[in-house]
Symmetry: C2
Amino acid sequence: MQNAGAGNQIEAIKENLKDVKNIVMVISGKGGVGKSTVASNLALVLAGKGKKIGLLDIDIHGPNLPKMLGVEKERMQSPYENRIEPVKISENLKLVSMAFLLPEEDQAVIWRGPLKMKIIQQFLSDIQWGKLDWLVVDAPPGTGDEPLSMAQLVPASSAIVVTTPQEISILDVKKSIDFVKKLNIKLLGIIENMSGFKCPHCGKEISLFKKGGGKKLSVEMRIPFLGSIPLDPNLVDSADRGILYVEKFPDAPATRALKGIADKISEKK
Amino acid sequence: MQNAGAGNQIEAIKENLKDVKNIVMVISGKGGVGKSTVASNLALVLAGKGKKIGLLDIDIHGPNLPKMLGVEKERMQSPYENRIEPVKISENLKLVSMAFLLPEEDQAVIWRGPLKMKIIQQFLSDIQWGKLDWLVVDAPPGTGDEPLSMAQLVPASSAIVVTTPQEISILDVKKSIDFVKKLNIKLLGIIENMSGFKCPHCGKEISLFKKGGGKKLSVEMRIPFLGSIPLDPNLVDSADRGILYVEKFPDAPATRALKGIADKISEKK
């Protein structure tokens, strides 16, 4: 019975996502590598190119995308029974997040794995995603219940791995790559975030989180390298203030890097 | 029967930890705020003051403490049946981590919640911790299975919350505070990490992750503020290379901040 139930769930998800061309999970081994920043800005770049994009935040304990995209006060609407509509960010971009379901933004979601699996199922089967070129899924760090649920519920998904250059992050990202391989998920490639930093006062390079670790890893593990995004205080500030960074800073090096990555991903499909 | 089993487990843990004076969980809402760096360096400072310290890494998917402390090649020993000894870092400091149980360091631990609860139980009931002044527990980010298991298995524990100053991190840390309150854990206070940054070339202040957000939050929520630790590239580099930062850089501002925090925590007990 349990298996039949799971089978039905997967069928319901398949039916609901039948007009979604590509599903990509943005994952990382370590937290704080800028995974949500990368996921949201990649979604913005792709939407800016005229693609229809859905953004799904499956970080149940720390859902930050609504605040980062300046829509934390919005709520999902349910005009029909059992069907819920995502929050619209722009013409081509829709967002779904646990944050929209919380009465207070500072409330903790004290849930164990099975309940998290359940809500992710519902995000996939009950949300009216409509036609999408890409469904970009922002997963919490690590290789636990949330990315595992996604992988099992949507077997056709692919993944992008985000890391910072420092070794501790590289150690964890190797675990993410192991995870992706073991679950037979297609790995689109690695992104190195916070890659190098120039002092905004004197212009000199500061070795903060170092540089090149992600690129080196991609060569070592024979995985496509999608690009390096430099550290930019404006990117941190934009996330804090709900400013759409790539739109406000179209010529910044980080924006150019994100655009290059979006092109590479588009080519892969 | 299940409840009796859980009761027995809690009794076994209580018996095993009977010579442990204080248990403190280091938690954060968001990943990458330097929680492991803070936990390990605080443990080093306390051990340096002559206290007996145990360090328990319950980040099952990204256990980084062994690498940060330069002991990733070591393994726990089991000279007696059902009893496991922690890895010794120094005379006064012992470490236990999931990383010591993995055959390969880049292997992913693809576990759901119940299995994580099980291993945390064993870390608490089967490890020969001996006499400790402090058992410092490094939890993964968020309010999920791992910190929840700790809170339920060791009802007498207390917590320290680590945040960076930027707003996205403050949003998540509010969830951690809500978690601590809901589970009746004693909150020792907040630490603001990566608080301010000076360019190592020109010496000018760079507003990277900003400054003061943690302090402001502590006033707003009437929670003790334990201190601010400035961002230091040597701290990142030491974690990568397994160098004991507070010992190698005894006069650095970050070390002085960590020492001040250790004093405050000691006073609280």
